[in-house]
Amino acid sequence: MSEAANNQKNEVIDLAHVEKGSSLWSDSWRRLSKNHLAVGGGFLLLAIAIVCVLGIWIGQSHEEQNLSLGPTAPSSDHWLGTDMLGRDMLARILFGGRISLLVGLVATFVSLVIGVIYGTVSGYIGGKVDSVMMRIVDILYTIPFIIFVILLMVFFGRNLVLIFVAIGAVEWLTMARIVRGQVLSIKNEEFIEAAQALGLSRMRIIFRHIIPNVIGPVIVYATLTVPSVMLLEAVLSFLGLGVQAPATSWGALIKEGADAMEEYPWMLLFPGGALAITLFCLNFLGDGLRDALDVRRSKD
């Protein structure tokens, strides 16, 4: 049978299923756990994060220089070799990983907060407010933000907070649209009407009843935002606009590696590999979550 017809059939079955209500999350969880790529990606990601965090307490310092040693290939002393200043690459990759993951999570969180609040308010209030608010989003969409982020970084220093704010401010637009769409689809449901009838304030309805019910697609999109944020940070670092020495990130390490790759290719390959594997995991996990939380998908 063709896929579309298949989908259509399952749509009917699933809608009936959703009306039972409570089983949506457990259903999604079951579907996710069957997606081996997504689960594997999730575990690997967790492992990478744990190793990066534990890296604070184990092994060498990411700053400790050993100029007489210089760049060396991977060995039993330095598993991933050393860089131009004799610094241990493993320690530097772990440190850079902490920064990259931190930027990914914090900037995603910033975009999440702005996007969810904006989208919910716009969708719930509706009418003129909604059309004005969405028109603003449409206009902002056409603005090439990457240009402003770069200008911001060049002009006003390169500190971590600015990176969080700048990237978070770029990424919230899509989130706002997704959330608004969700809110529009549930705001006429009976439980919202009940809340209104009970005389709850608008704020309380938004935060207690609407946001918890639109959280599914938000989680999916957030998972897919993390890799794009990490990429953006890496792009900035690669252009020399991201985190500054002595701190480092995967993007900055890749830049150093690209400059030295002719003689010392491991300086490029290891940080590049670390970033690629992490993005790989995040994308698989995001895709898996999207499939699992999409109620219209097939049941298996």
């Binding site: 063709s2 896929e3 579309a4 017809a5 298949n6 206009i139 056409t142 603005i143 090439p144 933000f145 990457i146 240009i147 402003f148 770069i150 200008l151 911001l152 060049v154 002009f155 006003f156 990429l231 953006l232 890496a234 792009v235 690669f238 252009l239 993007g251 890749i254 830049k255 590696g257 690209a258 790759m261 002719e262 290719p265 490029l268 590049g272 970033l275 690629a276 594997i277 993005l279 790989f280 994308n283 698989f284």
Partner: protein
């Protein structure tokens, strides 16, 4: 259709104004000026130079002078390259970036659509999994890793191509691949998805029932509809293309718009920054519009809205 285009063009005007104001404000509030060099200039000399470029006027006045000139096609002088106008510099750099973009798009479309078509005709077989797994790698390896890797393999180990520059036809290969492979991966996924959806439609079944051969079904009946996701991807992809052009031009030292923009930002080359930003903005708006027009043409149902 003409009305739709006109409305979109009218809507672009406030967007361009906003972009120009924000850029202008950011540039002028940035710490450091274009004439703050290591060797300190005498105050009178600096004042004289600034007066020459009209930088002694109030910011608002400066903006309107710039806007008035820009509307007449004069984007102002460059501080870093005193003999050349911003107009000339962009005239040199833009075709380079455009050529790079076109090559990258060709790579993306040939590889991406090809792989997507192969995968969609035999879904869930090895002919589907293999190209799609490669595509996933293409998406996850960032361009600034892919670029150096290609240089490492093809110019350092194999010595087939130069590692940087933009002089010979062969210099186009590595930058176009670096930029194109990333898009090819997305295009492959979108093509597969779009084609699978269309191939499940009733009219395809009808065509099959009437005995049309598979090639004809795919290219004559399904292809146009199946390409819709790819086309709608291209509008938003343009913004991404910018980030790509900054990166790729900096890796391969290509004298394109992206490199001029970054250098101008570091040099506080006010008019050059403003000029490159406006060029990008116009470019994005035009390309988005083109993508939308193409989309309407591909899906007749949208035609009358």
């Amino acid at each position: 259709m003409i009305r739709f285009i006109l409305i979109r063009l009218l809507q672009a005007i406030p967007v361009l104004l906003i972009i120009s104001v924000v850029t202008f404000a950011m540039v002028r509030t940035a710490p450091g000026g274009p004439f703050d060099q290591e060797v300190k200039m005498q105050d009178e000399v600096k004042a004289a130079i600034e007066a020459h470029y009209g930088l002694d006027k109030s910011a608002i006045e400066q903006y309107f002078v710039w806007l008035g000139n820009a509307l007449q096609g004069d984007l102002g002088p460059s501080f870093k390259y005193p003999n050349r106008s911003v107009h000339e510099l962009i005239g040199d750099a833009f075709p380079v970036s455009l050529e790079l973009g076109i090559w990258a798009m060709l790579v993306a479309l040939t590889l991406g659509v090809g792989a997507g078509l192969i995968a969609s005709t035999r879904p869930n077989t090895s002919r589907d999994y293999l190209p799609m797994s490669i595509a996933m790698f293409g998406i996850c390896i960032p361009r600034f890793v892919m670029g150096p890797l290609l240089i490492l393999v093809f110019s350092i180990y194999l010595q087939w191509y130069n590692s940087s520059g933009w002089f010979f036809a062969s210099d186009r290969v590595l930058p176009a691949l670096t930029m194109g492979i990333y898009y090819a991966a997305y295009v492959a996924r979108l093509t597969r998805g779009g084609m699978l959806e269309v191939l499940g439609q009733d009219y395809i079944r009808t065509a099959r029932a009437k005995g049309a051969d598979e090639k004809r079904i795919i290219f004559k009946h399904a292809f146009k509809g199946g390409m819709r996701p790819v086309v709608s991807f291209f509008g938003p992809a343009m913004a991404n293309l910018l980030a790509g052009s900054f990166i790729v031009e900096s890796i391969f030292q290509i004298p394109g718009l992206g490199r001029y923009f970054i250098m101008a930002a570091f040099n506080r080359d006010y008019f050059l920054i403003q000029g490159t930003v406006m060029t990008y903005a116009v470019l994005i708006i035009v390309l988005n519009l083109l993508a939308d027009i193409l989309l309407v043409w591909l899906s007749p149902r949208l035609r009358f809205d």
